[in-house]
């Protein structure tokens, strides 16, 4: 075993994979399948572990990068990584879905090959394009859960699948009861952020669930904002005039990203500062 793991050459591992069938990306069973790289799996869990290993000192402000819709923009992804790596004081990057364009595993891996060169961990939420064909399964294999939450730097992040059209508006997506449960309990965090791909005022969001969804956010304690993608252009505002700020990111194609700095003021109220970086 130690003998075989000492071989680092990709060609050799591919040759070995011939006998095992499925460990080598070029030997693709179907573009809809996700057999291939054993390294590029459970990326969400791996990036969360990296975060947990580097805790932010209590009371510090948290700075993170926000973007979305990396789909098929590989040159732009490389430029983005170079730019982000020059920034200081960042803890993580979050990406609001549509990692891929065709819901194919190989596309998700292409994006990861570039984003894995970031100095910071990155975390994603699933987009509608990531659900085409068997994309939802590929996403779960390569990245991880469709709905999840974590706490870092006194901030709770809740990421939720809002791609209702991909489930043909079955009335269950987004999972509002799950969201309610997550945002109602800060679990020791001092503020919180929600991120999803499709914003709740979009035609691809199940309109029957919009009131319950937006209400869950409006009543969520210490909520800073909801982050969205899907629209490919920057937008910020109180979409429903209910005190909840929605921030939509531009796509990777636009060669810009957002840096968000979050902290609590003297009255323990959450505050943020938004900076748009063009590169």
């Amino acid at each position: 075993m130690s003998f075989s793991t000492s071989f680092r050459l990709r060609a050799l591992s591919c040759a070995a994979a011939l006998t095992l069938l499925g460990g080598c990306e070029i030997l693709e069973f179907s573009p809809n399948a996700y057999n291939g790289s054993k390294d590029q799996t459970d990326l969400t869990a791996k990036h969360l572990a990296r975060l947990a290993a580097n805790p932010l000192p209590p009371g510090d402000t948290l700075r993170f990068v926000f973007s979305g819709d990396s789909q098929r923009f590989y040159d732009h992804a490389e430029k983005l990584v170079k730019s982000v790596n020059q920034q200081r004081g960042l803890s993580l990057m979050v990406i609001a879905g549509d990692i891929s364009d065709f819901g194919l595993a190989r596309e998700m891996r292409w994006i990861d090959e570039r984003l894995s060169k970031l100095n910071i961990p990155y975390l994603t939420v699933i987009g509608n394009h990531d659900q085409v064909g068997n994309g939802r399964e590929a996403y779960q294999h390569i990245f991880g859960p469709l709905n999840y939450s974590f706490i870092y730097g006194d901030t709770k992040f809740t990421f939720i699948d809002t791609n209702s059209r991909e489930y043909n508006f079955n009335g269950k997506i987004p999972d509002v009861p799950w969201l309610q449960q997550q945002v109602s309990n800060l679990q020791g965090a001092k503020r919180q952020v929600v991120m999803s791909h499709v914003p709740p005022d979009d035609g691809d969001f199940d309109s029957r669930l919009t009131p319950a969804y937006t209400n869950a956010l409006a009543t969520a304690p210490k909520l800073l904002f909801e982050l969205n993608g899907h629209r490919h252009s920057f937008r910020i505002g109180e979409t429903f005039n209910d005190g909840v700020t929605y921030i939509n990111s531009a796509s990777f194609e636009r060669d810009q990203y957002i840096i968000l700095t979050v902290w609590n003021d003297a009255n323990d109220q959450p505050k943020y500062r938004l900076k748009t970086v063009h590169f």
Binding site: F29, N32, R72, Y74, W110, R114, Q131, R165
Partner: protein, 207 residues
Amino acid sequence: MRQFLTLLLLSAATPAIGQVSATAPVAQAVEARPWYRPNHVQVQTAGGMGLIAAGVGYTTLRDRLEADILVGYVPEKHAGSTLSIATAKLLYTPYTVPLSDKFVLRPLTIGIYGSYTHGTINDEVKGQYTKGYYWFSTDTRIGPLLGGRLSYLRPTATPTDRQRRISAYYELGSNDLYLVSLFSNANRKSLSPADVLTLGLGLKMDF
């Protein structure tokens, strides 16, 4: 092992019948066997056509042009759902290099394939999307093929028998969606042709 078993089964099911001279004109060869009887059987792994795929094919233009049909299978653990893939290939092999009495190399085969995948999870249902929401098909793929093969000539009863051979082949390929990714303006520098390649390996038995 699985490939060999499948090949054995297929070869047993379709006994060789050719009693036609290897040098006979093509028209004569076609007349000698019923039109629907295939010229070869094959098994393949990968190349986007299944973990395992098997099929039959026809040969014409003095063994230079082949039309193959395969049915492939991808188990759920590799794709999230069980996929069956129907593939049609059209292959052209311009020249043949005899290596010895028993071995022949066909260094170049070019071709195209089209495939249809059944069993994907989020397959478009009527009314799910507005027209043109996704411009591409999730089930139908088309792509180029480039390969080669080494053939072993099986002994025949008389020297004039039709050439029976068993060949090992490789096929590099890609598909429409990978090629769109490669050739779109946004990826001139980032993606390389090697990124979009697939590889299929197979055995083909001509009889």
